[in-house]
Amino acid sequence: MISFSEIASSVHQWLNSHLSPAWVLTVEMVIVGVAAIALFALLGLVLVIMERKVAAYMQIRLGPNRVGPKGMLQSTADTVKLLVKEGITPAGADKFMFNLAPFIAMITAMLLLAPLGFAKDFQIWDLNIGVLYVTAVSSLSVIAILMAGWSSNNKYSLLGAMRSGAQIVSYELSAGLAIMTIVVLTGSLQLSEIVESQRNGWWIFKGHLPALIAFVIFIIAVTAETNRAPFDLAEAESELTAGFHTEYSGMKFALFFLAEYINVFTVCAIGATLFLGGWMPFHIGNWEGFNHVMDYIPSSIWFFGKTFFLIFVIMWFRWTFPRLRIDQLLDLEWKYLLPISMFNIILVTVIAIYHLHG
């Protein structure tokens, strides 16, 4: 069976046999860049249509069903529409900052892709501080939002940006602590090693209660960090019309939109890697036959399956819950999530010291 890692290594060998090592690296980087952008474009389209369909079914509607089979090309059509629309820069805006912000949002979202293991031995950059890199880069996204909100010269945008700043900075903490739980259990910051450590069971199953608590906190915190409902205060529709991207239109708006979905994808992929074993198949103890069938499913399908399940959960939240108020949002973080995750990390340290985990 052809796997991603085999394709990658064959491409690598072919390039090595024809070019000098420096050129090989350059060509590979270009290939990776193009592949990443293509993946993002595709992911954006898929996630938008998925969100709309999930929302529609939960709201007893049909959802998009006109363009393409069952409306599956709707988001493509929307993208084309947004591409040809005029991108207006408001007269009072800080033009440079205003036009820069959507690209920063996009670039930070793309940077997060680097350490992800999409399939077995298929990773762009397996750096040894992968987890640290993820937490560090993901907090950059607040800069884009603040920039967009401030430079728009619109009071709604400003309010939205300020809300989002407070929100992302606070939720960084508990998201980081939830990730630390797994780091403590694994003893490594390298994402490939974390995946490898789950060969005999995913952390959510063998990590006892602390891993479960950390998982729940992680999901809540990343929902907040990506500005998704019920934590979408930055764009709170009924309060601030569209929040920080009120003034954006056309492709600049689409980039923000895309960045939001890419962020959702990357944080869900990280969640899947840390807690649900990344590309590791699902195994049950000694059921050899069952485990064999599970092994037969390609690792990339496992990875994307888990990621999309988490994305679905986050969408599920969005279409069920009302929005929190800004003070309640901060209450939730500082009074509930942070103390619990601090307590949790002590608990997990005890478990790790006594080697109670599998």
């Binding site: 929302a55 509607r61 529709e237 009302p322």
Partner: protein
């Protein structure tokens, strides 16, 4: 109309001034609020009205007593039938006509259906204000059933114009009974679902409890009425205190809560849906036979004098004040709309709260803008 600092956007104290509306998702129409903000905290709310003012009162001065009723449907379009009822009552007071029992029952039935439809839509809209989108679509499912009943019997879905002085325009449609029964059954199943989705949700409770508080004295002083006032413990249900139509012959409770906050207003309306359904349940099997319209003259002339009728719409007390000089048209009509008074209390209720609270409070008042502007 505007203060000079408004164009700058910041006042002398450094507070930010924001225009919410006339086009804004939270105002459900063309309401324009100028709010003064200190960070996230609301310091002052000032409504600017008139974006949909059609001067219905002036228009009615040139319409006959048969004709003016239709225009009141366009005021509070969500409880148009009850508005029409109020107008018909005022005209009938002047004409001294006896309304057939069947017409009375039909009027009350339709009125309660309208109330349920209005409350259901409000439920969805409030949930949407607070950030939950799904309830809005679920609300439309039940509302659609009521609209279909209206369409079948009255001939229109929203602005029915089913009321004529002396009764109603048509008899009930043969399917009416069956459809209302189906509706009652549907609500039995679905009202609990509403509770699951919204009422008991922690986020919803946190967003609404203690938000937009108004005391009973203030509610009376601001002239509030309807569910918004009853949530503060003000007994003001016109159906109970000054019964009209059939309301003195049916069993229902006036829902009163003491908390006076957004959650109480929410609960009052949810309870009122159940009360209205019970009224419908009592009446649907006991519709008396007979005429649906009393005989009236082709040209109606009210004797010289003043006539005031009060009805309870989904939003509160609706009053029709007719001054007649004895002619074919009213000399002066004043519509006392519930939304206008309820809106005047908004500033008092939201001072010192957050923007999110302002939106929640505004949603809980159930404002319909054409009703405010008239």
């Amino acid at each position: 109309m505007y203060s000079t600092t408004e164009h700058i956007g910041v006042n002398e104290l450094g507070d930010m001034i924001i225009n919410v509306g006339p086009q804004h998702p939270a105002t459900h129409g063309v309401l324009h609020l100028v709010i003064t903000l200190n960070g996230e905290t609301v310091k002052k709310v000032e409504p600017h009205l008139g974006y949909i003012h059609r001067s219905i009162e002036k228009m009615c001065e040139s319409l006959s007593y048969r004709q003016f009723i239709y225009s009141t449907s366009r005021m509070d379009y969500l409880s148009s039938h009850i508005n029409n009822h109020g107008c018909a009552l005022a005209v009938e007071k002047g004409l001294q006509v006896e309304i057939p029992a069947r017409a009375e029952v039909i009027r009350v039935l339709m009125g309660e259906l309208t109330r349920v439809a209005s409350h259901i839509l409000w439920w969805g809209a409030l949930a949407m204000d607070i950030g939950a989108f799904t309830p809005f679509f679920h609300a439309f499912r039940e509302r659609e059933m009521i609209n279909e009943i209206m369409e079948e019997t009255c001939g229109a879905r929203l602005t029915m114009n089913y009321m004529v002085p002396g009764g109603v325009m048509f008899d009930l449609h043969p399917n009416f009974h069956k459809r209302v029964k189906a509706l009652l059954q549907q609500f039995k199943d679905k009202l609990d679902e509403y509770d699951e989705l919204v009422t008991y949700n922690t986020i919803f409770i946190n967003r609404t409890k203690g938000v937009g508080f108004i005391s009973a004295e203030d509610a009376i002083s601001y002239g509030m009425s309807g569910p918004s006032a009853r949530a503060s413990g003000v007994s003001c249900d016109i159906r109970k205190i000054y019964p009209y139509g059939m309301y003195d012959k049916v069993q229902f409770d006036e829902v009163l809560l003491q908390e006076g906050d957004t959650y109480a207003r929410y609960l009052v309306r949810m309870q009122e849906i159940r009360q209205s359904l019970s009224i419908i349940e009592q009446l649907i099997d006991n519709i008396p036979e007979g005429d649906f319209q009393a005989k009236t003259k082709a040209v109606l002339k009210l004797p010289k004098g003043e006539y005031y009728s009060r009805v309870e719409t989904a939003r509160g007390e609706f009053g029709v004040y007719i001054v007649s000089e004895g002619g074919m048209t009213p000399y002066r009509i004043k519509f006392r709309s519930p939304g206008f008074s309820n809106l005047s209390a908004l500033d008092h209720m939201t001072r010192g709260s957050k923007i999110g609270d302002l939106v929640a409070t505004m949603g809980s008042l159930d404002l319909v803008i054409p009703d405010i502007d008239r």
